[in-house]
Amino acid sequence: MRSAIHFASAALALAALAFTAVPSAAATDTPDPVADAKAFQKFFTQKFPKLKLEDFVNGPYSMNEDLHRQWEEKEQFPPYEFSLDMGKEMFAKPFRNGKSYADCFPNQGIGIRQNYPYFDEKEGRVVTLELALNRCREANGEPPFSYVKDEMAALTAYMAFTSRGKPFEIKIPNDPRALEAYQNGKRYFYTRRGQLNFSCATCHVQSPGERIRAEVLAPALGLLNAMPIYRSEWSGMGTISRRFTTCNSQIRGVPLDPQADEYRDLEYYLSYVSNGLPISGPGARP
């Protein structure tokens, strides 16, 4: 009995440590993205000293040996393959006006995933790959796709595939609005919301590698490099928009519209702090 109490106390103490282990200091008012990214990457590499930087893009599969073995087997016949094939076909098929996706993107859309999202200085806002794809469609007289799955997931899967291995290269131009968008994204990432009072960081900074129910939480570093993903939980593919909106509803917050400014800024921040890590999408997750 006594040893059980000691064990429980030790477990509680460890849990308390785990939840307070995030370094905290008063944030300065002037954002410094370079210093942020350096500190962000250092935090995770120190937390998981056995992992190489590029391993973080494999999410929970890098955190757990059993899961890693399952993943290696799964990759023999990847569950996202159908989506990848569909995306490749869709990408090559011309619109009704004879133009195609390739006409809307630099380098005909091949090998450019690592540069998205970017800050559009003309518009003064962040443009994600999903947004750019729908804008391309609309500019060519085609209706936009749903942002969360199916066609959008297929197109981004193909575009990510053509960028596999290329490091994220998100730029913040010398424009105060770009810095503001970055800072807004950072604030969104750390802000607690929903009835469960969780922030993105609660799971993906404080608790990566830990279980939340049956799932192993992924680290925030490299989180978007594998997108879009096939999730067994979803029985299908999902985009970054799907990931953000479902995260919000899981913590009992009402999700914003996909591609709301907050989500675009969040994607900008999260991608920037993973600069240098390779694109690995499309991915598969439990």
Partner: protein, 109 residues
């Protein structure tokens, strides 16, 4: 049991049912206004949470439950759910307001 006794019991039962129904409808009439006031207050608070981009799904669920209860004439439940929705909405407003600065405590430096 005689026919007359049976009839008396039936009449008494019917009278009881009518009395209960009357009492319920009197209660209902009295609390519909309460529901409307409580629901309006909850909706206003949830709208404020929406302006802060921080609505909760449970608030929406409580509001929906209040509406459903009111539609079925159960104003006691409708008032209770409206009050719950308002409390949840106020909590989400508090969260959004306090997080304006509190988020910095979680930041990696």
């Amino acid at each position: 049991m005689s026919m007359i006794r049976k009839m008396r019991i039936s009449t008494l039962s019917l009278a009881s049912v009518l009395l209960i129904a009357g009492a319920t409808s009197a209660l209902t009439a009295g609390s519909e206004a309460d529901f409307k006031a409580a629901y309006a207050a909850a909706e206003a608070a949830n709208k404020e949470a929406g302006a802060l981009r921080n609505q909760w799904t449970v608030t929406a669920a409580a509001l929906a439950d209040a509406k459903k209860a009111a539609d079925s004439g159960d104003f006691d439940r409708a008032v209770a759910s409206s009050k719950e929705a308002e409390a949840l909405a106020r909590a989400s407003i508090f969260q959004a307001t306090s997080e304006k600065e509190a988020w910095k405590a979680l930041e990696i430096h």
